[in-house]
């Protein structure tokens, strides 16, 4: 299972990549494999606020529905519009083209408290 060393992770199987004060958020390779065929991703809009630990969207897979939990607090500055037509990108490229939202984080240091790649590997092993 692919767990990139440079990313941070959550117990709910999201990943976070912090660049400056903007965090990109998606779901992990493990999560996409567990969900299997993603058919629809419901995301917030640019300008919406997300709160650490609160839901920011839902993922419909063929077999099940799951909620997306925000690992950080801040304002949504970009949403992956490609997922509207190609939700399968979440399965084929979870850490790349399958990203979900970019959030301007008020407190970038809060990302440090998320799980490291090693911590996350332990969680899913």
């Amino acid at each position: 299972m692919n767990v990139p060393a440079e990313l941070k992770f959550t117990q709910e199987h999201e990943w976070v990549k912090l660049e400056g004060n903007v965090a990109t958020v998606g779901i992990t390779d493990y999560a996409q494999a567990e969900l299997s065929d993603v058919v629809f991703v419901e995301l917030p809009e640019v300008g919406d606020s997300v709160e650490n630990g609160e839901t920011f969207g839902t993922i419909e897979a063929v077999k099940a529905l799951s909620e997306l939990f925000s690992p950080i607090s801040g304002k949504v500055v970009a949403v992956n519009d490609q997922l509207a037509d190609s939700p399968e990108l979440v399965n084929s490229d979870p850490y790349g083209d399958g990203w979900m939202i970019k959030v301007e984080v008020g407190n970038p240091a809060s990302v440090d408290s998320l799980l490291s790649a090693d911590d996350y590997k332990n969680l899913i092993s």
Partner: protein
């Protein structure tokens, strides 16, 4: 996760070796998918796929009163069956509620019933309660492995491995013979809406027959198919899934199974209630729904009309063949008309849906 009490089919090791994602289903560890539900679905629609359905149960009914017994406990007319013919049917309680749906096979000297895995014990107990002198009933589920070879190339693949003349085995007919050198029962049946066969063999023959079918199908691109795609394939055909679309609280007439409910065949368990239901017309009907948005309507979601709850979703998925979400649900009978606009309450959202004709999908050959 698979716990210690979960049963394994004789093909379990093949599923693990093929990268199958195993889940517990009806007490068995079964592959829900290998590569992905949508890919596997399309493989069956466009070429051919192989399913392990060994979890299904097999009962045999023998004896001079076997026909009378089956006429009493099943709703279809078993007297119409010739040897070598199979029939889709159901068993009902006195109140008309469905105990299970099943297929009845008539052999020269016996009948075989193939029943849902989750209902094996319940069905067998029920049947035992109604057995009379002159009827021998046995549960032979552990003596059979069952595979389904489904898709337009199924006949070509299977013909490579058997001397049975498959072109003569018509829909819902079966033959006994060797497949890949092993004794088998081959029926032209399935749960996908494609041409195809179900192949019953002894448990020790399952693995070699499975491998032979995979090898014979390789030039057609055959792949193993999991229960996830089995569900989306059957949903596109509006084939009922026991526990979702039909159960002890639904009757066959409202479920659209009037075509197997032979109220004129004589008395059978449930007949008097079902005759009354037919006379009064069912109050609700199972319909196919097409949804406008991308959300999936799932089992248990409410169906609304003019702001009032008029029914409930029983099954739903994205239709991989059609590219939009489809669902089955019970609605009040007067709304069970194609093009009726309805609302499905999907969590906090009201999703538009309309009643459509079924099956949702028809094979193009």
């Amino acid at each position: 996760m698979v716990d210690m009490d979960t049963k394994k089919t004789p093909l379990y090791e093949s599923h693990v070796a093929a990268g199958g994602k195993l889940v517990e289903f009806a007490g068995y560890s079964m592959p829900v998918q290998y590569r992905g539900i949508i890919d596997e679905h399309k493989k069956v629609r466009e070429a051919v796929g192989l399913f392990d359905v060994s979890h299904m149960g097999e009962f045999f009914v023998r004896g001079p009163k076997a026909l009378d017994f089956l006429q009493k406990v099943t709703i279809n007319d078993v007297s119409k069956l010739e040897a070598g013919q199979a029939q889709y049917s159901a068993m009902c309680y006195q109140n008309g509620g469905i105990i299970d749906d099943l297929i009845v096979y008539r052999f020269a000297d016996a009948y075989m019933l193939i029943v849902n895995a989750g209902n094996i014990a319940k069905n067998f107990d029920w049947l035992l309660q109604h057995v009379e002198d002159g009827v021998a009933l046995t549960d032979d589920s552990d003596d059979y492995a069952l595979m389904a070879l489904q898709g337009r190339h199924a006949e070509a693949v299977l013909q490579d491995l058997t001397k049975i003349q498959l072109s003569e085995v018509k829909f819902y007919r079966f033959a006994e013979g060797d497949v890949a050198g092993r004794k088998a029962i081959v029926s032209r049946t399935g749960y996908t809406g494609e041409d195809g066969f179900e192949i019953a063999v002894g448990p020790n023959d399952a693995e070699p027959v499975w491998q032979s079918l995979m090898a014979a199908g390789s030039s057609y691109g055959i792949e193993p198919i999991g229960l996830g795609a089995r569900d989306t394939l059957r949903l596109e055909m509006k084939y009922c899934l026991y526990g979702n679309d039909i159960d002890e609280t639904t009757n066959p007439l409202e479920a659209g199974l009037g075509w197997i409910t032979k109220l004129d065949k004589g008395d059978f368990i449930g007949a008097s209630v079902l005759r009354k239901v037919k006379e009064d017309k069912p109050k609700r009907k199972l319909v196919g729904l097409q949804l406008t948005d991308r959300n999936i309507a799932r089992h248990g979601y409410d169906i609304l009309h003019d702001g009032v709850r008029v029914g409930v979703i029983t099954s739903g998925s994205l239709s991989p063949s059609l590219g939009y979400p489809i669902a089955l649900g019970y609605v009040e009978a007067e709304l069970a008309v194609p093009d009726t606009e309805l609302i499905v309450q999907i969590r906090n959202r009201e999703a538009s849906a309309k009643v459509v004709k079924t099956p949702f999908y028809k094979k193009p050959y």
